[in-house]
């Protein structure tokens, strides 16, 4: 079984390497020192299990997982305090608080081995990601993948979002980017202070709206500073009026 280690501290990786020596079935196919390398390594090797640090350069462990279509099972290795971890405890295979003992490490790997017998183990990681949005660890930026490049969008740069099949199109002054998430996910992530969901398929930054025009029966159009016209639904209109204090 293939394993990838992702941690920016070489010594932290060497602990895992040392502990893994007593698991001959597990083969370390690659060591990565940041999330970018991690994304590449996972695409290339399709590992069964990854050991993942949370605080890393450029993008953190959660953001990295978001970029992967079919995330493998994850065991977190982190010095984060327990509070931060609690939120998604049940959905990761396990989490190891640094420094961890060999016994604790073995327990985590054994837990993963046992879970593998149960069908659909990958469900866990998906659930984990959905759960993370509730934790306060990250809501200042959104990480997207365009082709092979990874783009970090500060939330402050987002103008509006539009649903696009299974994706959401994020519109920024620099252009638009697709992300494989639901509108409900973004509605929660962005909060209600700066954004409003004016339509089943649209979330708009409140400050971007310059004008609201009536449009056909019972619906409206919000005109943005950029000139873009966003449909406002029957249920979206009262919400919009409320946040604008009309």
């Amino acid at each position: 079984m293939r394993v990838v280690l992702i941690d920016d501290e070489p010594l932290a990786r060497s602990v895992v390497i040392e502990y893994l020596q007593s698991w001959p079935d597990l083969e370390i196919v690659q060591e990565c020192s940041d999330g970018f390398e991690g994304v590449k390594a996972i695409a290339q090797h399709e590992p069964d299990l990854i050991f993942l640090d949370i605080q890393m350069p450029k993008i953190n462990g959660f953001e990295m997982l978001e970029l992967i279509e079919q995330p493998p099972s994850v065991i977190f290795t982190t010095a984060f305090d327990e509070y931060a971890i609690k939120a998604f405890e049940e959905h990761a295979v396990d989490y190891l608080l640094k420094p961890f003992t060999k016994e604790r490490f073995n327990k985590a790997v054994q837990k993963w081995m046992d879970q593998r017998q149960v069908p659909e183990p990958k469900q866990n990681t998906k659930q984990l990601l959905d759960n993370i949005q509730n934790s306060s660890l990250r809501n200042e930026r959104v990480v997207v993948k365009t082709g092979t490049k990874i783009k970090i969008i500060p939330v402050n740069d987002i103008l509006f979002l539009a649903a696009d099949d299974d994706y959401v199109k994020i519109h920024t002054p620099e252009g638009s980017f697709l992300k494989n998430k639901t509108m409900a996910y973004f509605e929660k992530l962005l909060g209600e202070d700066d954004f409003v969901r004016v339509h089943r398929s649209y979330i708009v930054r409140i400050n971007e709206i310059t004008r609201i025009d009536p449009y056909e029966k019972e619906s409206h159009l919000a005109i943005l500073k950029s000139g873009e016209k966003i449909p406002v639904s029957k249920t979206g209109y009262p919400k919009l009026r409320q946040v604008l204090g009309l």
């Binding site: 920016d8 501290e9 070489p10 010594l11 932290a12 060497s14 602990v15 040392e18 020192s33 940041d34 970018f36 605080q55 890393m56 350069p57 450029k58 010095a79 984060f80 305090d81 608080l97 640094k98 420094p99 200042e140 930026r141 970090i152 500060p154 402050n156 740069d157």
Partner: protein
């Protein structure tokens, strides 16, 4: 409301006095109304003036002069107005002239009284304000202390360091031992600095060096540091643990914002009456979250400097072509 009542009462009493002197009601009322209203304006002027400017202690002769000038002005204006509107009474012009000294002293008395009351009132207000500020400063100081304590504990740093030691024990026990010593020295230094006594630059830099050495073990070849200072500044004083959050911030931005090798440079020099320390780190302008550029650590440093020196211009940050620079100035007393 009280002011209006006072003015009306004064006008009525003065009218009564003038009636006693045998003037007609109209003349009495006019005279009273004009002089009292003008006096009220003079009082308002001096009160308002003292709100923004109060003479220093023992400069009350100046106050007296100021009141006299205002009283004289009032008298002149009053005299001119009354002289030009009350014409039908032949005795009145003579009376007006004769009553000038009395009017002057009464005016001076009232203006002086107003000045005194204003001085006392506004001084008290000022004291209240100062006390409020002091209280606020104390609260802030406590907060900063708490924050510092938390910072000193730095669980993330500590646990990651311990994890590195765990790794070293197996493969390179000598280095593990060395790192334990560095970590111990660092923690001991941190505990010692709990009292807020100023420390010398050289001590603070040595402490920082320990911290950086530990971080270097953790991050390996990715982190390099340059510390330099003018020999002359060696014994200059600075508040303890002031540089630590700045350097931590530099490391955080440097290491977590870029993926390459990161050089953190620290440079200390003496300016006129000031110790200036410059900390530089690389950063990525594309991913550094806007508005959060200065970080909580730095705002803590700024607040602390404000509390200690009462100045807000001691901490500066600039970012230019991938280099983030933090400059902190410490006034030397």
């Amino acid at each position: 409301m009280v002011i209006v009542q006072c003015i009306v009462a004064s006008i009525l009493s003065q009218t009564a006095i003038l009636l006693w002197f045998g003037f007609t009601f109209q003349t009495s009322l006019l005279d009273s109304a004009v002089s009292i209203l003008l006096l009220a304006i003079a009082c308002y002027l001096i009160g308002n003036n003292l709100k923004y400017y109060r003479p220093e202690k023992n400069r009350y002769l100046l106050m007296l002069m100021y009141c006299s000038i205002l009283a004289t002005l009032w008298l002149l204006v009053n005299n001119w107005v009354l002289d030009s509107i009350i014409l039908n009474d032949p005795h009145y012009a003579e009376f007006l002239y004769n009553s000038l000294p009395i009017r002057f002293f009464i005016g001076l008395l009232i203006i002086g009284l107003m000045a005194m009351v204003s001085v006392v009132w506004y001084t008290q207000e000022d004291q209240k304000e100062t006390e409020k500020r002091k209280l606020e400063a104390e609260t802030l100081a406590r907060d900063a202390e708490l924050y510092n304590l938390r910072q000193q504990l730095q669980p993330h740093f500590l646990f990651n360091s311990l994890n590195s030691i765990t790794a070293l024990i197996g493969s390179r026990p000598e280095e593990a031992r060395k790192m334990i010593h560095q970590l111990s020295d660092f923690l001991r230094g941190t505990l010692k600095k709990e009292d807020q006594q100023p420390v010398s630059l050289i001590d603070e830099l040595e402490h920082l060096q320990l911290y950086l050495d530990i971080e270097k073990v953790r991050f390996g070849h990715r982190l390099s540091t340059e510390i330099s200072y003018n020999e002359a500044c060696k014994s200059k004083l600075l508040p303890p643990m002031l540089l630590q959050p700045i350097v931590e911030n530099a490391i955080k931005f440097g290491l977590y914002d870029t993926t390459g090798v990161v050089t953190i440079s620290i440079f200390a020099e003496c300016l006129e009456n000031e110790l200036q320390i410059t900390v530089q780190n690389p950063y990525d302008p594309d991913t550094t979250r806007p508005k959060h550029g200065t970080g909580f650590g730095l705002s803590g440093v700024k607040r602390r400097l404000h509390l200690l020196f009462g100045r807000t211009d001691l901490l500066e940050t600039t970012s230019y072509s991938h280099i983030f620079t933090t400059i902190v100035k410490i006034p030397q007393v």
